[in-house]
Amino acid sequence: MTVFRYDKTFEGLLSALFDAYVRRTFPDQLIGPGEPAPLFTHEMYEVMTRTDAAERVWKGLEKKLGRRVCHQLTHVWLSEQAGGDELLMRYMHKAFDAPQSIAGDFTDDDVLQVKKIAQKVAKEKERLIQFVRFQKAGDGSYFAPVSPLYNVLPLSIGYFTDRFADQRWLLYDTKRRYGYYYDLQRAMEITLEHDEALLKGWLSEEMQAEDEKIFQERWQSYFRAVTIRERLNPKLHRQLMPRRFWQYLPEKR
């Protein structure tokens, strides 16, 4: 069994594919730094991550598959699922070897798998956009905690910079402990050393803007008022608004 060890970054994965073509051996398994090699390894290769190689591979993919499909590949990467990197490796290998684009061939398991995972990730991104609730802080900026299933925060930033372009905001992923801060010009990725206050998800009363509580309460009453009690359907409610989002929704507090 051929095993490649790489640094678990997307660039690293692309470099691994580049090296595989140079060496003409393709990995059966990919492992990260420090992971023990599997028992029946007969060939072990350490991938050096190289930006130029990664770029070349990416350009080649874009040419071969088109932008839209490459977008799916990044989605699969951000799903952070076990085996996702190996799936991508097989997919890219097939894509380069095939005479024309394989993107439409859903009879192939890997192609269908990539599409399905990408769809799931896109759905989670959509949900993130739906269920973010900003809290206004005392200094006039807005804060919202998120903890999506997949690492979809980078995918959704475009929506927030467009819609909330005239207010400063911070979106913080409490699970992965990083976030984006928008300073009226651009959104920057940030990691905080002391983020304990944010991890709870709710700004304390002294950090909140004066009117924040009022609007949260108004929203809660509105939410209660629009419910038609003759038609309660808790199962459908949970399907549409999964429980894992409730912790940060004022209306479900």
Binding site: D109, F131, Y159, D162, R163, D166
Partner: protein, 421 residues
């Protein structure tokens, strides 16, 4: 201190909630310098109520005082309920503050009729104007057009709103007149045609002048109450298919009747089954996305939709001569008619079959519901029992009452061929 705005919000949301329209789709607007917000082409639902409806817009009434006495409406003048009215600034502030917190996509403004339609409409226009021109609000606005409002006011509203809507309420005019003596169909169809005209005019103007103002870019929608009167599904669906042929008509909503005024003798005492509303929406989808005509879904022999099976399956069972469909050869339109195959899987099938022929296990992986589809299709494998060989009645029975356990299934399906995954 008691929050009076909060109280008003409760009263007026309570009054507005029976309007089912919720979409915030149809307009895409990027953020513009100095404005607040944007609009997202396919709409975003920001929350879901406990009855499973989406909350996309702040659905609210300007006031729930009303001079009309429509039997089906909770806000009728003879009802003894709490009444309230928002001022322009209160409602505008609420909208913007909710919007900035990502609670909503925009505003859905409706109103009870005070004094006369034009007076009411004028006050509603004042709010959306304030939102657009003073607050520079760039989000979505859906506005109800009051039946009987004048052309000038509808034209003004169309300048500011993304979508306008007039509710038809009852499909047959004599029934509408019985339940809502002050209304008739003409008062609904007139503003509808004003909106359609404005929509077409602005589209034409924008062809020549790129920056000509838009008029209700997301078109219009309407709503019908189902189950309060004796309309058949055939009458309802043929009316909505006629409405869909009109320019700018984007959605027809069906609202299952809820007995909010149980004391009124003109109304049925019981709520119709929720499933009827659901079947109507399924039929509506068939008309809009599956290329069905309304007279294919319901006809003179069955003027009502089958509540036990969905309208697509019902059609397939009435037309066994159209099946089985060969997924490797048939046109997209025909594949789309197979029960258990939706738009997404039909598209997957037609793109994939250019590479390899399609088998039952790939179909299953693509998300086709083989439980239903197996009776209606062929792929390059031993054919299962199709609807033509079995009887449509038997297929129907099998789909309505699926076997309870494996043992029973084994006994019954000895002769059928099941595909391994």
């Amino acid at each position: 201190m008691k929050d009076s705005i909060r109280e008003k919000l409760e009263i007026l949301a309570e009054s507005a909630k029976y309007d089912v329209s919720c979409a915030s789709s149809g307009t895409s607007r990027k953020h513009r310098e100095g404005h607040v917000g944007s609009a997202h082409g396919w709409g975003i639902c920001h929350s879901f109520t406990e009855d499973g409806r989406c909350v996309s817009l702040l659905k609210i009434m300007l006031t729930n005082y009303c001079i009309y006495d429509c039997a089906y409406c909770i806000n009728r003048r003879s009802n003894d309920i709490r009444r309230a009215t928002f001022t322009v600034s209160e409602l505008v502030e609420l909208t913007v503050e909710f919007y900035r917190r990502n609670y909503i996509e925009g505003l859905f403004l409706s109103s009870g009729v005070i004094r006369n339609p034009d007076y009411t409409m004028e006050r509603m226009v004042r709010i959306v104007k304030q939102l657009r021109e003073v607050e520079r609000f760039n989000g979505y606005i859906h506005m109800k057009s009051i039946p009987g409002a004048s052309r000038e006011l509808v034209a003004k509203a169309g300048r500011y709103a993304d979508r306008l809507s007039v509710n038809l309420e009852i499909a047959k005019e004599e029934n509408l007149k019985r339940l809502a003596p002050e209304k008739d169909h003409a008062s609904v169809f007139k503003p509808m045609s004003y909106i359609a005209q404005g929509f077409l005019e602005s589209a034409e103007e924008r062809r020549h002048l790129r920056h000509a103002p838009r008029f209700a870019p997301a078109g219009q929608s309407t709503q019908m109450i189902v189950g309060a009167t004796d309309e058949t599904d055939r009458e309802i669906l043929s009316l909505s298919s006629a409405l869909y042929t009109r320019p700018s008509m984007k959605r027809v909503y069906y609202s299952g009747y809820i007995p909010v005024n149980g004391y009124d003798q003109r109304l049925p005492a019981k709520q119709p089954p929720l499933i009827r509303e659901h079947r109507l929406y399924q039929a509506d989808w068939l008309m809009r996305f599956y290329g069905f005509r309304s007279d294919e879904i319901v006809d003179d022999t069955d003027p009502n939709l089958d509540l036990e099976v969905d309208p697509k399956l019902a059609w397939a069972l009435r037309h066994p001569e159209c099946f089985p469909v060969d997924v490797n050869r048939a046109d997209y339109e025909l594949i789309l008619r197979v029960p258990g195959i939706g738009v997404k899987s039909a598209q997957l099938i037609v793109t994939s079959r250019r590479y390899h022929s399609i088998t039952a296990s790939t179909l299953r992986k693509m998300g086709v519901v083989m439980k239903r589809a197996q009776y209606f299709l062929l792929c390059r494998e031993l054919p299962p029992q199709t609807v033509g060989e079995l009887n449509p009645l038997i297929v129907r029975q099998r789909l309505i009452n699926p076997p309870k356990n494996k043992k029973q299934e084994g006994l019954r399906t000895q002769l059928t061929f099941t595909f391994p995954d």
